[in-house]
């Protein structure tokens, strides 16, 4: 695919990078990234992916924009309150970059639809921007079972963490955390609060991982959990091993189908 003059100008700061070039930019324009959750993490991730010229961006969210979202979910504006988040996100991206095709899925992910959503556009990379453990484990298992790379992340208060799963190259989320905690055992942002910028920092790291994966450059966070403490202004990259006994990616996996875990009542 050859780039138009407008594209050469729009992406000139990418193209000048020897690790990207015109060829790399064409790869980005031909790539497809699925962003599950268009909130604190998914909003900034999707915006940077759109600006970078990722050709197809899938947005999954059943929710509508709430006034309390606007402190951090920068893809949505004041006039979007009450509008489905995927529609608001689609409008922002369309305004930002006409090169991007947005596919909106106004749904919650569950065991019944996640495989179909991933297969719908045969996405190259998946970003987990969800806020609850049933969804995080579901995304992990779906990506492991369908051999898709994905970026996990979580944020709360002044802390964040992220890791990248690459099929056959290191641990999955379940290697580290095994099973979801019981509903309500671990606080969510709506209960415990979160500094608005946390999603920006961690979400843009997720977007960076997606872009690097598509370009095939640098080192990814597979085999590492990156943790960030904003109060201490401290990043730590913790090496994590693959668990041979992992229920989904281990040597003799017991999970070969998707399951829905119980959701904390306060999140519903």
């Amino acid at each position: 695919m050859s780039l138009s003059n407008q594209q050469l100008e729009r992406y000139s700061r990418h193209i000048i990078l020897k690790e990207v070039g015109g060829k790399g930019q064409a790869k980005l324009l031909n790539s497809k990234v699925l962003v599950i959750g268009t909130g604190g993490l998914g909003a900034p991730a999707a915006m940077y992916l759109a600006a970078a010229g990722i050709g197809t961006i899938g947005l999954v969210d059943f929710d509508a924009v709430d006034l309390s979202n606007l402190q951090r979910q920068i893809i949505h504006s004041t006039g979007d309150v009450g509008k489905p988040k995927v529609l608001s996100g689609q409008e922002t991206i369309n305004d930002m970059n006409p090169d991007v095709k947005v596919v909106a899925y106004k749904e919650w992910v569950g065991s019944n639809n996640i495989m179909d959503i991933i297969k719908d556009q045969d996405y190259d990379f998946i970003i987990d921007g969800t806020d609850n453990f049933p969804a995080k484990f579901l995304i992990n298992d779906a990506c492991v079972l369908s051999a898709k790379p994905f970026s996990h992340a979580g944020i709360i208060r002044f802390q964040g963490q992220t890791m990248t799963y690459i099929p056959g190259k290191g641990p999955c989320y379940r290697c580290v955390f095994k099973n979801p905690p019981p509903p309500d055992a671990v606080p969510t942002c709506s209960q415990a609060g979160v500094l608005g910028v946390m999603g920006g920092i961690i979400g843009t790291i997720q977007a960076t991982e997606a872009i690097k994966y598509i370009l095939g450059i640098g080192d990814l966070l597979n085999g590492y959990l990156l943790t960030y403490d904003a109060l201490k202004m401290d990043f730590r990259k913790i090496k994590i091993p693959q668990r041979k006994t992992c229920q989904v990616c281990g040597e003799s996996p017991s999970i070969n189908y998707l399951q829905d875990y119980e959701q904390a009542v306060c999140d519903l």
């Binding site: 979202n69 905690p181 671990v186 969510t188 913790i238």
Partner: protein, 69 residues
């Protein structure tokens, strides 16, 4: 005995198990934390028997769920 937990040096006066260390350091949500010693995951069933040794590099990994709402 000197060890490191989440990158910070900790001095222990006596040898302890993982279970005792979680209490001693007042680790949050000890029932859900993932414990890694020297790049190896420690099974929860072993917390009460696995002793901490001089120089161990210990990581407490926490569930972090937020991000969407």
């Amino acid at each position: 005995m000197r060890i490191r937990t989440n990158g910070e040096e900790v001095i222990l006066e006596r040898s302890v198990t993982v279970e005792e260390l979680l209490i001693l350091l007042k680790v949050e949500m000890p029932e859900y934390v993932t414990v890694q010693i020297n790049d190896e995951f420690i099974d929860r069933e072993d917390f009460s028997v696995r002793e901490i040794n001089e120089g161990d590099e210990i990581e407490f990994l926490y569930f972090m769920g937020g991000g969407e709402n």
